[in-house]
């Protein structure tokens, strides 16, 4: 069997994902694939998204057919950098399938639950993805989600970004599965919680990527302790001079029912069809918890209070990424080389155009590490 054959498998996007359905193949057999390229479109109960290549090569075979449902880790296709025979491919597939059940069970066991750490007597939930090989000592990355979100926001990014370094994503206090008893609450408290998390992990310096509210937190972190910030990736950030859409914040806080929530969440995406039943249910489940309404009110007021930093924060290295169709925080008119405007994306470019965002961010981190 040729050693160069590699499997394209169903990734796990978020903790609760167990299977995915093939919607469309984006590459033909025989086509050359670069690392990070989108190969196949999958749909889960939460969202649809592309599977990106983790290894380059030629697409040798599509194993999964359109409409087929595969478990996380299941075999979608086979690539190789070298020419290999059909019998080698057959042998690879057979061997993969033979070993697969065990692998999947182990994977589920390990990653089904978030990790927790105590920060200032509050429990912070987080997920961690280790790089595949040898990059464990690289400067780690911390992902900071947006208003009302959680680590699931990074389902399309963690795997790709963890190629080069350990990646951590936290649920901010008052969000996701972290403690909801937050007391007085605003961006300053979120900043302190994020530093507290880094301290608890023994991390002195990290790349920071923040989305929306998380972007404002990342800016606060960079402003208060710049030495701890290796680079700054900002995705549709708040606190960057652009006003936050009050209707969105108020609508998010007010929505109690499925239908209202769906309408609100549709504002996040360029393509409202991306808002699935599970996504709506997930947000409602979070919002129904005692105390969350007050938490969202407090942080919402803080976000709506107006711009905190002006657009040019002077922080380098930095990458600012914005969806052209963002209806929550409209993109600025900027020609700065660090600024990327992504077409066909709304407020969630890291979900809607994950591979592009991942590519920009990977480049930012590599340059920062090198410089």
């Amino acid at each position: 069997m040729a050693d160069s054959i590699a499997a394209i498998t169903v990734p796990q996007w978020g903790l609760s994902m167990t299977e995915g359905q093939v919607i469309e193949w984006l590459k033909d057999v025989g086509e050359t694939i670069e690392v990070g390229e989108e190969i196949v479109l999958l749909e889960t109960s939460k969202i649809a998204g592309p599977v990106e290549a983790q290894v380059g090569g030629t697409l040798l075979r599509r194993i999964a057919a359109v409409d087929e449902v595969l478990p996380v880790g299941g075999l979608l296709g086979v690539v190789s950098a070298e020419e290999v025979s059909d019998s080698d491919i057959d042998a690879f597939v057979a061997s993969f399938n033979e070993n697969f059940v065990v692998v999947a069970a182990e994977q589920e066991e390990e990653s089904a639950e978030p990790l927790f750490v105590e920060v200032s007597e509050r429990s912070i939930a987080y997920t961690k993805e280790e790089p595949a090989d040898g990059a464990g000592d690289a400067t780690p990355l911390l992902l900071l989600h947006g208003f009302g979100g959680d680590t699931n926001a990074w389902m399309f990014n963690m795997g790709a970004l963890a190629q080069d370094r350990p990646v951590y994503a936290i649920d901010f206090p008052g969000h996701g599965r972290s403690s909801k008893d937050v007391g007085d609450y605003g961006l300053a408290e979120l900043r302190d919680a994020a530093f507290g998390f880094l301290d608890a992990q023994g991390i002195t310096k990290a790349h920071l990527v923040g989305h929306s509210m998380g972007g404002a937190v990342a800016l606060e972190m960079a402003a208060s302790q710049p030495a701890r910030v290796a680079s700054l990736g900002l995705i549709a950030p708040a606190g960057f001079g652009q006003p936050v859409n009050g209707d969105y914040i108020e609508g998010f806080i007010a929505a109690e029912r499925r239908k209202e929530m769906k309408t609100v969440l549709a504002q996040l995406f360029a393509d409202p069809a991306l808002v699935s039943r599970d996504m709506v249910n997930g947000v409602l489940r979070y919002k129904r918890i005692d105390g969350v309404a007050g938490i969202l009110r407090q942080i919402g007021d803080d976000l709506l209070a107006g711009p905190r930093a002006d657009g040019d924060s002077g922080l380098k290295p930095i990458a600012v990424i914005w969806g052209a169709a963002d209806r929550v925080i409209a993109p600025p008119d900027s020609s700065d080389p660090s600024f990327t405007l992504i077409s066909d994306a709304g407020h969630m470019p890291h979900m809607e155009k994950a591979s592009e965002v991942n590519r920009i961010l990977s480049g930012l981190f590599r340059n920062a590490d090198a410089g």
Partner: protein
């Protein structure tokens, strides 16, 4: 997230609310157990053990064992609710409503309206229903339809642990009379349930699965039966949208109508008896409000119009099965308006 049974989810709801509000009390037969006995106090904990151990934390002033006198127990809870407490009255089996119906029907349910909006009655009657335990005619009925028919009463019918906890906390905080129906056969069904307190609004259906060909509306245990049928039908390419209304009063008519407008076909699965039941109620509502969307007649899958039998053979035949639901869906898929008028 931790998986918890409906039993544990219900207990968490009661405990969290009793800690949060000193006016919340539990009243019922053997809610603690052991009063006046030679053995230990608090080991009984209600028919399904939901209130087991509560007396240790809250004492017998708030976990109150009563004689087996349902009128006094439910009526007392109603009176206490009208005068400042938030009682959870535990009625072991809904069948026992036969001896205390007046306390709900003519008393608690009426106060708010009859007194011109000047009274609130934050009463929860938590009770158990359903067949499957070989408990026969006087311990196995559904009866939720009777209470759905009473204005002033809210009827909650959780089918899973997540809903059970959120709906019970909502019920305890609600200022109206809530009858909370748990099906006895699903107490051990597990689901992901947050540790924190949370509420689920009444009148908001849960779309259990999305589909395009047929809408199934199912209540309580039948949600699981219908889901089994839907999984099986999916293999044959029949796509079912399954709706769990969660509460029969208020009823989320909008979600049901929206779904039927999309699928054009409706099957209703209800473990209750067929006449004047929830299935008929939903069917009537859809026939009136979404007639234009129906491509075929509505099919109701219910228990037969008999008391619940004892013998396992008979009881198994009594309870609507996944096979019966599947059959109904396949049938409704073959029917059309033309076929109906031709036959």
């Amino acid at each position: 997230m931790p998986k918890k049974s409906i039993r544990i989810a219900l207990q968490e709801a009661v405990v969290l609310e009793m800690r949060r509000d000193p006016n919340v009390i539990v009243i019922g037969e053997d809610v603690a157990g052991g009063a006046g006995c030679s053995g230990d106090r608090g080991t009984y904990g209600g028919a399904m053990g939901v209130t087991k151990g509560l007396i240790e934390e809250f004492g017998d002033e708030r976990v109150i064992d009563t004689p087996i006198t349902e009128s006094a127990l439910v009526g007392m809870a109603a009176g206490a609710a009208a005068t400042g407490l938030r009682p959870i009255a535990e009625l072991m089996f809904v069948d026992f409503m036969g001896v205390c119906f007046d306390q709900v029907l003519n008393q608690a349910a009426k106060f708010r309206y009859m007194f011109g909006g000047k009274a609130t009655t934050p009463l929860v009657v938590r009770t158990m229903m359903g067949a499957g335990f070989r408990a026969a005619a006087q311990h196995s009925q559904m009866l939720y339809n009777l209470f759905t028919a009473v204005p002033g009463v809210k009827c909650v019918i959780p089918s899973n642990a997540y809903d059970a906890k959120g709906l019970l906390i909502q019920a305890i905080r609600d200022d109206d009379v809530v009858i909370f129906f748990n099906h006895k056969a699903i107490y051990d069904f597990e689901d992901e349930v947050p540790d924190e307190a949370y509420t689920i609004p009444f009148g908001e259906a849960n779309i259990v699965r999305e589909g395009e060909d047929v809408t199934i509306v199912a209540f309580s245990r039948m949600v699981h039966t219908a889901n089994d049928a839907a999984k099986s039908l999916e293999k044959d390419g029949i796509s079912v949208e399954l709706i769990d209304p969660r509460t029969s009063s208020p009823l989320d008519e909008e979600s049901i109508i929206e779904s039927v407008e999309n699928t054009g076909r409706l099957v209703i699965v209800d473990e209750g008896t067929p006449r004047c039941g929830l299935a008929g109620d939903v069917a009537g509502m859809v026939a009136e409000k979404a007639f234009h969307a129906l491509k075929a007649p509505i099919i109701q899958v219910t228990a037969p119009h008999t008391p619940v039998p004892f013998s396992p053979v008979l009881e198994d035949a009594y309870i609507p099965s996944a096979a019966k639901v599947e059959e109904a869906v396949r049938k409704v898929m073959t029917m059309s308006r033309d076929a109906v008028s031709a036959s």
